[in-house]
């Protein structure tokens, strides 16, 4: 969405013009008071008084005119700047060619900022240049006149640039807010849809199993999909929470291991953020352990993954219900120069600065990894 037409940027403009209306009255008051004090400088008092009346009238008019966004059209802005220029150019006629202060003085700020707000950087620059040029028409240009002109030329674009940035930011914030609301609504709808699909898949699985025969095969397929979808949902649940690109939620990553085979993943309910490389390596290690279970225990062998998070470390365990590894088999393999899976797993955990322990017995085989959290967030 363009920052020129978005509702957020128009709302910003409304605020800025309301603030400008206040400023216009302040600089008008200043100009009127100064002109009254310096009334003796007037060579043509009637013309001078007319100028002051025009400025008062124009301030009243612009306060009303800029208040409604529909009235903020180019003719209004052109007229606004033209009046300010006319006041400057009329000064020699009022005060003679050898004057020190112009009739409108700081009052020209109103037109300058109106252009800066409405036409932003370019508008501020154009208005600044024209006003400065008109002001430098005077005969004697001293340092302070030059300074004022210079301020007009740089003040216009600066204010214009800031208005531009404000409106862009407001537009972007609006878009971001809308996207967040849309994402939340989508997630809400997805929950309902997912739940419905999961219900049906679970039901098919259950009934299919009871009916047997071909229906059992359908049930098995439904069961696979059910696990897969549930794993994906768990993975997705945590996606939005992670803020850093370089850190990853290990809970979500591990949840992906649940699909396909008979793997149960138990984790804390809240995200466990780890540096991406550490998290990926841990998941890879867990996957290697699970592959090992498939090779040594069986394709459909159940396995359990448990993640526990502590402030200083994470503990990950992978267990199966298999017959266990017979005593000495690993050592035997190592002696024969076959380092095998176990050693590669140990090595990978050691690279992460952690420890790996392998327990085996009648309860099956259990790997337990403890890895320090290097940068707890």
């Amino acid at each position: 969405m363009s920052s020129w037409t978005s509702p957020a940027s128009i709302a910003i403009k409304d605020r800025l013009f309301r603030a400008l209306a206040v400023l216009r009255w302040v600089v008008l008051l200043n100009a009127v008071v100064l002109n009254v004090i310096r009334a003796d400088e007037f060579e043509r008092p009637a013309l001078g008084a007319t100028c002051v009346v025009v400025m008062i009238g124009w301030t009243v008019f612009t306060t009303w005119a800029y208040d409604d966004r529909r009235r903020r059209t180019s003719p209004l802005l052109v007229a606004d700047l033209a009046i300010a220029l006319a006041m400057l150019l009329a000064t020699p006629a009022v005060k003679g060619t050898d004057y020190t202060s112009s009739v409108p003085g700081f009052w020209v700020m109103g037109a300058l900022f109106a252009w800066a707000i409405h036409y932003r950087l370019v508008g501020g620059l154009v208005a600044g240049l024209l006003l400065a040029a008109a002001d430098l028409q005077r005969q004697h240009v001293d340092a302070s006149d030059y300074g004022n002109a210079f301020l007009l030329v740089i003040g216009g674009p600066i204010v214009g640039y800031m208005c531009d940035s404000l409106q862009r930011m407001a537009t972007e914030r609006d878009v971001a807010e809308r996207e967040a609301a849309m994402a939340a609504e989508r997630a809400r709808l997805a929950r309902a849809v997912h739940d419905g699909v999961l219900q049906v898949l679970a039901l098919v699985q259950r009934r299919g199993h009871e009916l047997g025969g071909e229906a059992a095969e359908l049930g098995r397929l439904a069961g696979e999909q059910e696990r897969e979808l549930r794993g994906l949902i768990h993975a997705q649940e945590a996606v939005t929470v992670v803020g850093h690109a370089e850190s990853v939620d290990l809970v979500a990553e591990l949840a992906r291991l649940e699909h396909g085979q008979n793997v149960t993943v138990a984790t804390p309910g809240s995200p466990v953020e780890l540096p991406a490389a550490t998290a990926r390596e841990l998941v890879a290690v867990a996957r290697a352990c699970l592959d090992n279970v498939r090779v040594h225990v069986g394709d459909d062998a159940p396995a359990w993954v448990l993640l526990q998070a502590f402030p200083d470390r994470v503990e990950l365990s992978v267990r199966d219900d298999g017959p266990g590894i017979s005593a000495g088999r690993l050592e035997e393999a190592a002696r024969q120069g076959r380092l095998g899976v176990a050693e590669s797993i140990r090595g990978r955990i050691a690279d992460l600065g952690g420890t790996a322990e392998l327990a085996t017995g009648s309860f099956g085989t259990e790997w337990e990894f403890v890895v320090p959290r290097t940068s707890p967030i």
């Binding site: 679970a202 949902i233 649940e237 804390p268």
Partner: protein
């Protein structure tokens, strides 16, 4: 099937907005000789029918039209602290399951559980045994860890004993109570007691927090 042999049939209420599921669960329970005293499709229906039906066990889906499963759990446990709530959820979203258990549910099953698993779970929950899945044990472990990591001052954080943590960890690793009893050289009953205590502490912590919140916000005065 040795149905209707049991002297006292377990009174069960089934709450699920999915008609197919509700019927399937009701059918399975009835066939196994349990007494399905009420069914409900929404939270509102559940709360309306609960007082008259007086079930011992409520088999509850979490994703039901308002009030949701968590709110229903909290309300019926408040009305009748002896009622057992078994959560039967399709998606098993972590936050929901944890909230339901904190609100007083004593069991949790994923809907893909088999008929036998469901019946066993209902019977065990009726006896007062918590039904833990490894997933739920992991959530509860994580919750206790979170509570000890960020203690709220003065709330008297409930902590698990070393033994309770050990048992819960084993449940989360998929060991059965029998396997745990064997490995730790404990009786089956003791293992169950440890698991039960952890849930009790979690629910206690929740009640303490709610009470504290109520007092702080002046909700205890009428």
């Amino acid at each position: 099937m040795s149905e209707s042999e049991q002297p006292a049939r377990i009174r069960v209420m089934v709450v699920d907005d999915h008609p197919l599921w509700r019927d399937a669960v009701e059918h399975d329970l009835a066939q196994a000789g349990l007494d399905v005293v009420a069914v409900a499709a929404t939270g509102r229906e559940a709360l309306a029918r609960f007082p008259a039906a007086r079930p011992e066990v409520v088999v509850l889906d979490l994703q039901i039209p308002a009030p949701d499963g968590v709110e229903v759990t909290a309300e019926i446990v408040r009305q009748d602290p002896s009622v057992r709530v078994l959560i039967l959820s399709a998606s098993g979203e972590h936050a929901d399951v944890l909230a339901a258990v904190k609100a007083g549910a004593t069991g949790y099953l994923v809907k893909s559980a088999s008929r036998e698993e469901l019946l066993t779970a209902v019977r065990r929950v009726a006896q007062g045994d918590p039904v833990f899945t490894p997933g739920l044990a992991g959530l509860v472990l994580g919750e206790f860890q979170r509570m000890s990591d960020e203690p709220t001052p003065g709330s008297g954080v409930q902590t698990l004993t070393e033994r309770e943590t050990e048992v819960l960890k084993m449940v989360a690793k998929g060991l059965s109570y029998r396997q745990i009893a064997e490995r730790l050289v404990l009786s089956h009953r003791t293992v169950q007691n440890h698991v039960q205590n952890t849930l009790g502490k979690l629910q206690m912590h929740n009640r303490v927090e709610l009470t504290r919140y109520a007092i702080e916000h002046g909700l205890d005065e009428d």
